[in-house]
Amino acid sequence: MALREQLNGLVNSMFLEGLLDEQFEQLQMLQDESSPGFIAELITLFCGDSERILAELTKLLDQAVVDYQKVDAFVHQLKGSSSSVGAQHVKLACVQFRQYCEEHNKEGCLGALNVVKHEYYLLRGKFDTMLQLEQRIQAYESKQQI
């Protein structure tokens, strides 16, 4: 079915580009008939969390005196959720970010924040497409069962 091929093609390209890692494969294994919306739910939570955190980080780094402890705590959180969903590039960007935090390097942190944002929004666009395709496939398949 064309939709499924499209979805598989998209996910495969994301693996090839390194946007997704083996953790996403784990998630695919965990999604089945008893939990068809599992990946969609996780992705939605990830996006919500990430955007909230990115907004906080932007505010914190906008201060004259940066609270690096708070910044690090947020980056740690983002690193954790990106790791759980298999968002490899975002995770790696967070690792780099934490380095700059440790060094109390404001310029470095600002740069790292931009990299994280870039990687996140890139991923987010593809996740949106993925979820739309999944929805259409599930709608099609449930019609077939009637």
Partner: protein
């Protein structure tokens, strides 16, 4: 009295991250565990019946011998009570200390891992937790249960030299007759 014919083990999962709670819940359910997932150490203690709030009504938090938890899996980094704090509280409780505890963390810090293992944790899982990690849980639960069986046999026989600790025996004797009856019926299902 609840008698579980085909015992499905019950795992209490503790993590402040909603994403990670969803993930661990799915991992556990896929591996045929019954799951209760909570967002903090203090909530976990409430489920375990070790509520620090003495005014909580029994209707809201059932007595602990009605909710049997076979294993606790907890995140290490949590605000307020950390996974390590929760571990110490469980191991420090005469009624709960035999429940196996597994700690999860996104950070591979050897000193942290050692501290947890020395504190009584059975295992330390690096996040993200994998499906294959779930296989490591059952042996810890069964080890605990077969110890229980053994103890009961020893008690019944009365003369056997005990190979398990006296502490466990003391704990067993503190239990209500009802709890022991529950154990006896569980015994049959394990064969």
């Amino acid at each position: 009295m609840a008698v579980v014919a085909e015992s499905q083990f019950h795992v209490l999962a503790v993590d402040d991250s909603l994403m990670d709670r969803k993930l661990i819940e799915r991992l556990l359910k896929t591996s045929s565990f019954q799951v209760t997932a909570v967002d903090s150490g203090s909530r976990a203690l409430q489920v375990l019946g070790l509520s620090e709030d003495l005014t909580s009504s029994p209707a809201v938090y059932p007595a602990h011998n009605e909710i049997e938890v076979n294993l606790v899996i907890t995140d290490y980094c949590m605000p307020g009570m950390t996974g390590y704090d929760l571990l110490k509280k469980i191991k420090g409780s005469s009624s709960l200390r035999d429940i196996p505890v597994v700690i999860m963390s996104s950070e591979n810090v050897p000193s942290r891992i050692n501290r947890c293992l020395e504190g009584g944790a059975e295992e330390f899982f690096l996040k993200p937790v994998q499906l294959s990690d779930m296989k490591r849980l059952r042996p810890h639960i069964l080890k605990g249960k077969s110890k229980e069986q053994q103890l009961q046999q020893e008690e019944e026989e009365e003369e056997e030299t005990s190979i398990s600790s006296n502490k466990r025996k003391a704990m067993d004797e503190e239990l209500s007759p009802e709890r022991r009856r529950l154990r006896l019926s569980n015994n049959n299902s394990l064969i």
